[in-house]
């Protein structure tokens, strides 16, 4: 204990090992770790629900669970995975850890607010878990009215209260990141020297701050309609059920970008580092992140082409949706072009990043099918949609999250992870993911609706394939959980910069001291100045 304390007392992990030292910490790095532990536990709940769903879908008749239970399971899965895992995943964990480090700051602008955000998040999660334990919720994560306000007999208000509270955590984190990026950059760190991860955090924060309040209002209106029968959405009370969908998707479509834009940032860091190249078209990449974040606010109606929305509104939303696809396409082309004349190495983070590019590409391309008005009529609310958004939100975001976790693991923990196992699980995740979700595109075009525990027998073969893939995917996710924990004690000690990466976070020790940098760094070069620094032989 003594020798360990001597060894660690000069880094942020050694600055106190008591529960209290963690629970009242104002250190952004420790708060990042608190989030990581919290969302990992929540991921296990959401993942268990997913496993039960896939198990039940092995047969055309719901045999494992009752239809009521099935409805509650997909609600748990959606609510937990969207609001309590994916939205906070990269921003609250890696973002919290890296935003100050990448710009050469000692902490976020408002450290106390940062801790408060975590407590709000935990409070929200507890409310929602209470709702799920106390009988469950059967509305789906979308809470469509008037089902949610009048007809559901489940614990709707408690569940949305949790989401409502967690929303404030999002807003405050976003605010913190925006102020930090504006005010706390080290000397020489101009906007166009920011790593793309910083651009992605900045854009994500703008969405968090602008969109989340709309969700809060919407859920509030829904709750008062349910509790006090004040007619807002219920047609029988003079409300409009489609109004709820407009308001809900005004938040929930940008929310998709809250999940995917950070993943784009992570992938850019990893690809640049393992290619030893500047990201191709750096400025286009930064602008495209901003373009995606802003266009993302005006495409919500593409969730409503067959809802009864007017055909003219549908037309406008379809066109705008095609426009938002252009910057996404640009990003994929630029990542590919970064490989050109590179010196590429295939360590585990790079395998995850390439997996991200592949899965994001498929997710993006299938989004074009859905943006096409006539075609969406067939695809809407089928498994095609389920497959599409899992490719983006799970294939894309989670793959990048794991890549980032491996990439910065030495910096965060001061330990190396076992490389062989990590490469194996990157591969396993990629294969398992495709086997799980690719069959769903096919069964979707065949017409299998979402949220169906009972389905016609001719769809079974695709569901069996999908469930088989899910069991592989489960191993792909479980393995890193095990070997990363193992590495905390047994992993090789990490040097300050094991990847010879650029970026200020690599210029300080691993793990960093509590104040991040011994003295404030001065930035003299652009992000990813790899080729200049490299000897010709690589």
């Amino acid at each position: 204990m003594n020798s360990a304390a001597v060894l660690h007392h000069d880094n942020y992990l050694g600055a106190g090992a008591t529960w209290r030292s963690w629970l009242v910490t104002l250190d952004h790095k420790r708060i990042g770790i608190l989030y990581t532990i919290t969302i990992t536990l929540l991921f296990l709940i959401g993942g268990t629900a997913a496993a039960l769903i896939r198990l039940d879908l092995l047969t055309p008749n719901s045999e494992v669970v009752s239809v009521e239970t099935y409805n509650k399971l997909f609600t748990i899965h959606g609510v937990i995975m969207v609001w309590f895992f994916l939205i906070p995943s990269i921003p609250a964990t890696l973002g919290n850890f890296l935003v100050p480090m990448m710009i050469g700051a000692r902490d976020l602008a408002f450290p106390r607010l940062n801790l408060a955000s975590w407590y709000l998040f935990v409070a929200g999660a507890l409310f929602t878990i209470y709702a799920l334990v106390a009988g469950g919720v059967d509305t789906g994560w979308t809470f469509y009215t008037p089902f949610s306000t009048v007809f559901s007999n489940s614990n709707v208000i408690a569940a949305v209260t949790g989401v409502f509270i967690a929303g404030f955590s999002s807003i405050l984190t976003g605010l913190n990141f925006i102020v930090t990026t504006h005010q706390m950059r080290a000397p020489g760190m101009t906007w166009f020297r920011l790593p793309l991860f910083m651009w992605s955090m900045y854009a994500t924060s703008l969405i968090l701050v602008l969109a989340t309040p709309v969700l809060a209002m919407t859920l509030f209106l829904m709750a008062i309609e349910r509790a006090f029968h004040i007619g807002v959405f219920d047609a029988a009370l003079g409300g409009d059920p489609l109004l709820f969908q407009h308001l809900f998707w005004f938040y929930s479509h940008p929310a998709v970008y809250i999940m995917i834009v950070p993943a784009m940032g992570v992938a850019s860091e990893i690809i640049a580092c393992f290619c030893r190249n500047r990201i191709f078209g750096y400025k286009f990449m930064a602008y495209s992140i901003l373009a995606i974040a802003s266009f993302g606010f005006v495409v919500w109606g593409h969730h409503m082409f067959v809802s009864g929305q007017s055909a003219y509104a549908g037309t406008v939303f379809s066109l705008l949706t095609f426009l938002v696809s252009v910057p996404s396409a640009v990003k994929v082309f630029n990542w590919t072009a970064t490989l050109y004349k590179s010196r590429v190495r295939f360590d585990a983070p790079m395998l995850y990043a390439l997996g991200f590019v592949g899965l994001f590409t498929i997710g993006g391309l299938t989004g074009l099918f859905l943006a096409s008005l006539g075609l969406d009529v067939q695809l809407h609310d089928t498994y095609f949609v389920v497959a599409h958004f899992h490719y983006i939100m799970v294939g894309g975001s989670v793959m990048a999250f794991f890549g980032g976790l491996h990439f910065w693991w030495p910096k965060i923990t001061g330990r190396m992870y076992p490389e062989g196992w990590a490469r194996f699980s990157a591969l396993l995740t990629f294969v398992g993911f495709n086997l799980t979700f690719f069959p769903q595109f096919i069964v979707g075009y065949l017409g299998m609706p979402r949220r169906y525990p009972n389905y016609p027998a001719e769809f079974q073969v695709w569901n069996v394939l999908s469930s088989a893939g899910a069991s592989i995917l489960a191993f792909g996710y479980a393995l890193p959980l095990m070997y990363l924990m193992w590495s905390l004690r047994y992993g090789e000690r990490a040097p300050a910069n094991p990847w010879r990466a650029k970026g200020l976070e690599w210029q300080t020790s691993s793990p960093p001291p509590a104040e991040n940098f011994e003295k404030t760094p001065v930035v003299t070069e652009e992000a990813y100045a790899y080729s200049d620094a490299e000897p010709a032989h690589g």
């Binding site: 719901s62 239809v67 409805n71 059967d138 469509y144 008037p146 089902f147 009048v150 007809f151 047609a235 029988a236 059920p241 489609l242 030893r276 191709f280 286009f284 067959v306 009864g308 055909a311 037309t315 379809s318 095609f322 426009l323 696809s325 252009v326 640009v330 082309f333 590919t336 072009a337 490989l339 050109y340 004349k341 590179s342 010196r343 590429v344 190495r345 590019v357 590409t361 498929i362 074009l368 099918f369 008005l373 006539g374 075609l375 009529v377 067939q378 609310d381 089928t382 075009y445 065949l446 017409g447 609706p449 949220r451 169906y452 525990p453 016609p456 027998a457 001719e458 769809f459 690589g538």
Partner: protein, 317 residues
């Protein structure tokens, strides 16, 4: 299981148009995905760390910068052009699907947790089953008694949400006799996945004999005429009424000038709204004296009255 299905049955006129867009996207996105995969693998092999590939870049930094810009512009413009084309094509198909042909045979649908009630103008009522003739457009006029549902027939490539409080429509023209799945595709509660049914598309002759075999019930319009008296509508709107209320004969499908200067077409939705929200769209020349029938009249009764008003609308045509 005798075969593995890759592709849904195609049994309506619009199905092949929608499949055309689908196959175009499969081809385009397949080509793009393949191109990216090939490039990633090729670069990964060629520029693997330690390989002896030529990595020299031109010394002229400005020229390099210009070339990069051209590449960026190219891969912004090319997708943009492609997307605009696909947008226009799919919008056109969508409008075709959204425009009900004037000669369509109407069928009225009420969705409720968790079944579909259907009613033909000739009086037949069905639950979870819909008999239609092939080769003739059929229009479904739909509403919900409780939550939002969605009426979907994958083999016909049609789908439309069914809302409480208003009418939505969809139409199709079946091309092949057979039985096809009907799914509720908007999550509607516990037994959502059991809110299924089937469409039975029949040759015209078989359909005609189905109609006559199931005849004997009064037509929808006849039932609507009974409701029209029962709810007291005829007191003001009847042929011999003396109170100032518009006559409904010859009304259906015509434009109605409103008191506030707007004008509306007297379609199913207008008639429904005039019964439930009579003071919202008051016809020009009349006072807002009609009481609302909201909460007193069921969706199916309402549809029968609509069909009755429709039937007297056609008298003068």
């Amino acid at each position: 299981m005798d075969h593995i299905p890759f592709f849904p049955e195609r049994a309506s006129t619009i199905a092949s148009q929608i499949d055309g867009i689908y196959f175009m996207w499969v081809a385009l996105s397949g080509a793009v995905a393949l191109a990216i995969a090939v490039l990633v693998v090729y670069f990964s092999v060629k520029y693997h760390a330690g390989s002896k590939a030529d990595r020299r870049v031109t010394a002229d930094a400005a020229a390099q910068e210009r070339r990069m810009h051209h590449i960026e512009i190219a891969w912004i413009v090319i997708p943009l052009v492609l997307f605009t084309g696909m947008f226009a094509w799919s919008a056109e198909v969508f409008y075709h699907g959204a425009t009900v042909p004037p000669d369509a045979l109407p069928v009225y649908v009420v969705g409720k947790q968790w079944m579909w009630h259907l009613e033909h103008p000739s009086g037949q009522r069905e639950i979870g089953e819909l008999h239609v003739p092939v080769g003739r457009p059929v229009e479904l006029v739909m509403t919900s008694q409780d939550v939002i549902h969605s009426f979907s027939i994958p083999a016909f490539r049609v789908k439309q949400d069914v809302l409480p409080g208003r009418y939505t429509t969809l139409w199709f023209s079946a091309t092949r006799p057979g039985e096809y799945h009907v799914f509720c595709t908007q999550y509607c509660g516990t037994s959502h996945s059991q809110m299924v049914g089937r469409v039975i598309a029949m040759e015209p002759a078989a359909y005609a004999s189905w109609l006559s075999a199931t005849a004997g019930t009064p037509t929808m319009a006849a039932r609507g005429a009974v409701r029209f008296r029962q709810f007291g509508c005829s007191g003001c709107h009847g042929a011999n009424a003396t109170v100032r209320a518009p006559s409904l004969e010859g009304l259906f499908g015509k434009p109605v000038p409103l008191k506030d200067g707007r004008s509306m077409i007297a379609d199913e939705r207008f008639i429904r709204d005039s019964i439930l929200l009579p003071n919202r769209d008051v016809p020009a020349g009349y006072e807002a004296t009609m009481p609302s029938f909201r909460g007193q009249i069921g969706e199916e009764e309402l549809l029968e009255i609509v069909e009755y008003v429709k039937s007297i609308g056609n008298v003068t045509q």
